[in-house]
Each structure stands twice: as structure tokens, then as C-alpha cells.
């Protein structure tokens, strides 16, 4: 296991360095003034210009700049947002938890949905049922998340008025305890549903393949021969043994949740990391954009590393290969 951890780290660390390197190279390639390239479309005072040139070694060769950028990162400095007049790390710390909450709420809907559809279409003897779900997943793939979100708002929020159209909670709230939680759940319901409509079919597909694989195993035949009921086989043998690939997929989905969050948070004005990134792009606040993207890359690489380690811990075949 230790060997696996070592080799996996040996893989993750250069990747991390390379991502930051490429992003800095892109900043370097922007034509014109390097200070403006970093800061974005904002008037910069001479003091700030001097400070930024010194801090990021803009007068030095590219490799020195990359090195100094890493030193800054290790000190927790992701840059300074001229637009918001705050350090980028502060903005990330403030918004990232909201994105995580939204993602987890989405998983809460998407995982049961995906497992149910995957098991139904994987275990069915009825070709029609399987074919229906295959076509349905194919179509679900084609629906853009943000448009589905708009439709949810149109029907459930605007037409029926069951849910709020946007935001994370009321501007003024006197709710406490359980009613506070319910109030929040009310706001998160539609974004979570839109998230699940996107991730659910992907989980379903993995689950279906995995269930079909499991059904071909010898112990399923043994279980049948023992006279176990269909449901007992599914619950006792199929579900447990085919869930392993889902762990990986869910883990990777957690890492790349920012991608979906960019669009989803814009539809529902959910003030998370995705919405922050879009706002920063719109006002051309480059330092914030780059800070968020580098943070996202770090998060993804670390989460994928943890997922792989977890998978290796769960399945001895992986760590010994």
C-alpha cells in the first residue's frame, strides 16, 4: 500500500506543477503590459504597479516568475482581486463551502436516482425496460444543465410558486434550528434537482455496466441455486459488489463539480465559487480568474488522489497491480 501511495504521489505532484506552469504561460502570452495582464481591465496606481511587479517578479525571466508564484502559493497567496479589493483566497474561502454544500445536496439526489435506474436496467429480464432506460439516459445527456435549471424555475418556481427562483436564502431570516434548515432546503431543492438530472444518468450508466458484470459472476449462480429470491440477490450480492466503480465516479465528479457549478450557480444565482468565477471573467479580473482556476486544479488533483487511494484501500487488486 505504501508503495502505491508513493507512486501515486510521484504522479500527482508533477501534474500539479505542470498545471500551474501552463496557466502562468497563458498569462505570459497575453499581448501587452504584463501588469495589466495579471490585474485585468482596471486602472492601476503606480504604487500598486511597483508592488505587483516586485511581488510577482514581473521584470525577471519566466522561470523565476513561476518559482516566485509557487512560493506565493505555498504562503497561501492566490493573488489580490482588484475588483473586490480583497485577497483572492478570502473570496475562495467564503464561496467554496457554498459550492460544496450544493454539490453534496446534488449527490444526495443523484446517487439514489442513478443506483435505482442502473440496477433496474441492469437486472431486468425485460429488454423493453432496459431499452427505455438506455434511450432515456441518451436523451438526458443531451439536455444542457443550465437550460433544465431554467425550465425548473419556469415551471416549479414561476408558474406554481413552490420554490424560490434564486439565491441561497431569504435576505432577512428569523428562522432557527429545524425551520432554518427547512428554509435552506427549500432554496437548495431546485439547484440540487438540476444537478441530479445531469449527474444521475452518468451514475446510472456506470451502475448498469457494473451490475451486468456482477450478474455474470459465479456466486450469483450459486445464490440462485440456493433458491434466494431475486430481491435478496440484488440486495445482498449485486448492490454491494457493483458499487465499487460508483465510488470512483462519484469521487471524480466531486472534484470536477466546479465545472457544472459555473453554469448551475449562474442559473440560480447561488453565490458559490462558480458564480464568482463567472463574475470575475465578466469584469476581466484576471488575477481572481487565475487564482480560482489554480485553486480548482489543486482541489481536483488532491481529491482524485484521495479517490484513488480509497479505491486501492477497498480493492486489493488495484494496489498490487
Amino acid at each position: 500500500m505504501l508503495r502505491f501511495v508513493f507512486f501515486r504521489l510521484l504522479h500527482a505532484i508533477p501534474l500539479l506543477i505542470a498545471v500551474v506552469f501552463v496557466i502562468l504561460l497563458m498569462l505570459q502570452l497575453i499581448p501587452g503590459d504584463p501588469v495589466q495582464a495579471m490585474v485585468g481591465d482596471f486602472p492601476v496606481s503606480p504604487d500598486f504597479r511597483a508592488a505587483i511587479t516586485k511581488q510577482y517578479h514581473l521584470d525577471d525571466p519566466f522561470l523565476v516568475r513561476v518559482y516566485s508564484y509557487f512560493v506565493n502559493l505555498l504562503h497561501g497567496d492566490f493573488g489580490y482581486s482588484y475588483q473586490f479589493q480583497r485577497p483572492v483566497l478570502d473570496l475562495i474561502v467564503e464561496t467554496a463551502p457554498r459550492t460544496i454544500v450544493l454539490t453534496l445536496a446534488g449527490f444526495l439526489v443523484a446517487i439514489p436516482l442513478g443506483v435505482a435506474i442502473g440496477v433496474i436496467s441492469g437486472t431486468t429480464r425485460n429488454k423493453r425496460v432496459d431499452r427505455f432506460w438506455t434511450s432515456a439516459t441518451l436523451i438526458a445527456y443531451a439536455i444542457p444543465t443550465f437550460w433544465f435549471g431554467q425550465l425548473l424555475v419556469l415551471v416549479l418556481a414561476v408558474h406554481f410558486g413552490w420554490f424560490p427562483t434564486q439565491g441561497m436564502g431569504p435576505l432577512v431570516s428569523r428562522a432557527h434550528g429545524l425551520s432554518w434548515l427547512l428554509e435552506r432546503a427549500h432554496y437548495i431543492a431546485l439547484p440540487a434537482l438540476a444537478f441530479a438530472a445531469y449527474e444521475g444518468p452518468r451514475f446510472a450508466r456506470i451502475m448498469r455496466v457494473s451490475v451486468t458484470d456482477t450478474l455474470g459472476q459465479g456466486y450469483i449462480i450459486t445464490a440462485r441455486a440456493k433458491g434466494l429470491t431475486r430481491w435478496a440477490i440484488i440486495r445482498g450480492h449485486v448492490l454491494r459488489n457493483s458499487s465499487l466503480p460508483l465510488v470512483t465516479v462519484v469521487g471524480y465528479a466531486l472534484g470536477s463539480a466546479l465545472g457544472g457549478a459555473v453554469l448551475l450557480e449562474t442559473v440560480f444565482t447561488w453565490p458559490g465559487l462558480g458564480l464568482l468565477l463567472v463574475q470575475a471573467v465578466r469584469v476581466r479580473d484576471n488575477m481572481t480568474v487565475v487564482g480560482i482556476v489554480i485553486f480548482a486544479a489543486l482541489a481536483i488533483i488532491v481529491i482524485n488522489l484521495l479517490v484513488d487511494l480509497l479505491y486501492a484501500a477497498l480493492d486489493p487488486r488495484i494496489r498490487n497491480s
Binding site: P14, L15, A18, V19, V22, I23, M26, L27, L29, I30, A37, R131, T134, S135, T137, L138, I139, Y141, A142, I143, P144, F146, W147, Q150, L151, V153, L154, V158, T165, R205, S256, L258, G259, G260, V262, L263, T266, V267, L277, V278, A280, V281, R282, R284, N286, V289, V290, V293, A296, A297, I300, I301
Partner: protein, 304 residues
């Protein structure tokens, strides 16, 4: 259909042309016999027709602001009008052009870039392999939409830059596929025979291995096109697509502000995106069924 045509490169030799035509006709016939492929073909042909004849089909010029703003669907404006009084039906018709151009362009770009990288990495192995595949992995670290967003944020979003950004984000999938094909095929007997016959490396890579590697790659090209269309729509929805183009995503960007009063601004352009992407996915599914009937019902790695 267009994809299958590339199986046989057109040539001045009439014999080859006739052969290519027969092959194409057989491919279309096979595709029409798969359930998904037939539906996909019909949808794509319809969209191509709409894109080509947009000026004749659309009742208004796309940016003409002649009507009442935010008018609901009626006989004058089938899909209603937007906040500036533009006819949404005409915008959706013209938007087909943008989406198809981005879809085809990005899929082609990814095929060239990813195909070249995959071919080199798969054939030569060793240092070339590990370096190229690590670069592909590097570009796959971030979600596709974040890569495109970053590129557009730093360099702007004209049509060509947007196209380049999408290619930059989606090429690794193509590279991995071609790579795995070459890994598999390079150990086969016909490649060994070609080496014994002292054929040049370029000849072996392009004339011997490439034709066998093509079928799954064409499936991936169709899937890439659908991903590209979804990304462009997403970027338009964020208001970050080329402002000089009419696109489905941009109408949805406007819709976001007027959703509570004008549902038609959201419903129709979104349905158009779904139609195009479903068409491409069904088409790809039909193609993969022809290429390998065991894989029927498989869906590609769509990750916008």
C-alpha cells in the same frame, strides 16, 4: 453520414469514386437500419437544411428589431420576441449555423490535434508516449468548461478563439482513443508484415494502421461535436460567447433576465440545443453499432 464519407478519400480515379460511392451507400443503408442511427441521420439532415437555407426559412433578419418586445408566440412570431423585439424563431434558425459551425469545426480540430498526438504516442511508445500522454492528462485535469472559460477570459471570445479554446479542451479524449487503437493494432500481424516488407514508418502509420483505426474514431468525432455544441451554448448562456454571432446560448442568456415574464425566450432555443445534441448522440450510437454491434447502446464520455 458526412462522417462516413471520409472513410474513402475522394479521388480523380473514377474507379475509386465508384467504390467510395458504393461504400457510402452501404454505410448509409447500414446506418438507416440501426434504430438510433436512422433517427440521428434525419435530425442532422434537418439541421443541416435549416442552416444552409436559413435566410429563406427565417421570416425576419436575425437582428431586426421590428416587433413589439417580449411578445408571446403568435402567427407573426412563432416563438415570440425577445427584450429587444427580435423574432426568436429567426434567431433560432440562424443560431443553427453557429452551433453546427462550432460543432463541426471543433470536432475536426480535435480530430487533427488529438489524432496526431494519439498516433505518435501509440506508434512510437517510449519517451514520446509518456510525454505526449502526460500532456493530454494535463489538459484533462480541469473540467472542459473551466478550460474554455479561462482561455476566453484571458484572450477574448471571437469565433476563432472560441473554436481554438474548445479544441484545446476536448482534444485529449480523441488522443486517448487513437492512442489505444494504435497500441492495439501495432502488435498485429499485418503491421509486422509491413515492417518486413521494409515499408516506411509514415506509410505503416498512415496507410496500414490508420484505416483499421478509423471506425471508433468517427464515433468519437460525432460525440465531440455534441460536446462542442453544449460548451458553446454554455458560454453563450454565461454571456461570454462572441457578441457578433447569433447563438442559441446567447438567447438563453437574455432569457435568464426575463424568465419570470417570458418563458418562450428560454423554451425554444434550449429545445434546439437538445435536438442538435440528441441528433449527434443518436448518430454516434448508430455508427458505433455498425462498427461494433456488441457496443450498441453505449454512450460516449460526454463531459461538458
Amino acid at each position: 453520414m458526412n462522417g462516413m464519407a471520409t472513410l474513402e478519400p475522394p479521388s480523380a480515379d473514377p474507379g475509386l469514386l465508384v467504390r467510395a460511392w458504393r461504400y457510402l451507400r452501404a454505410a448509409i443503408g447500414n446506418l438507416a437500419h440501426t434504430r438510433h442511427g436512422a433517427v440521428g441521420c434525419v435530425i442532422l439532415l434537418l439541421l443541416a437544411f435549416v442552416a444552409v437555407f436559413a435566410p429563406s426559412i427565417a421570416p425576419y433578419a436575425p437582428l431586426q428589431q421590428a416587433q413589439a418586445s417580449l411578445a408571446p408566440p403568435s402567427l407573426e412570431n412563432f416563438f415570440g420576441t425577445d427584450n429587444l423585439g427580435r423574432d426568436i424563431f429567426s434567431l433560432v434558425i440562424y443560431g443553427t449555423r453557429t452551433s453546427l459551425a462550432i460543432g463541426l469545426g471543433a470536432a475536426f480540430g480535435a480530430l487533427i490535434l488529438g489524432g496526431t498526438v494519439g498516433m505518435l504516442a501509440g506508434y512510437f511508445r517510449g519517451a514520446v508516449e509518456s510525454i505526449l500522454m502526460r500532456v493530454a492528462e494535463l489538459f484533462q485535469t480541469l473540467p472542459v468548461i473551466v478550460v474554455v472559460l479561462l482561455t476566453v477570459a484571458l484572450f477574448g471570445s471571437s469565433f476563432w478563439l472560441l473554436l481554438a479554446a474548445v479544441v484545446l479542451a476536448i482534444w485529449p479524449v480523441e488522443a486517448r482513443l487513437v492512442y489505444s487503437q494504435y497500441i492495439k493494432l501495432r502488435g498485429m500481424d499485418f503491421v509486422a508484415a509491413a515492417k518486413v516488407a521494409d515499408l516506411s514508418t509514415a506509410h505503416i502509420m498512415l496507410r496500414e494502421i490508420l484505416p483499421s483505426a478509423i471506425p471508433p474514431v468517427i464515433v468519437q468525432v460525432a460525440l465531440d461535436a455534441s460536446v462542442a455544441i453544449l460548451i458553446e451554448a454554455g458560454l453563450g448562456f454565461l454571456g461570454l460567447s462572441d457578441p457578433n454571432m447569433v447563438s442559441w446560448g446567447q438567447i438563453l442568456h437574455v432569457a435568464q433576465d426575463y424568465m419570470t415574464v417570458a418563458w418562450w425566450t428560454s423554451l425554444f432555443p434550449g429545445a434546439a440545443i437538445c435536438l442538435a445534441v440528441v441528433g449527434l448522440n443518436l448518430f454516434a450510437d448508430g455508427l458505433s453499432e455498425i462498427a461494433d454491434p456488441r457496443l450498441a447502446g453505449r454512450m460516449g464520455g460526454l463531459q461538458p
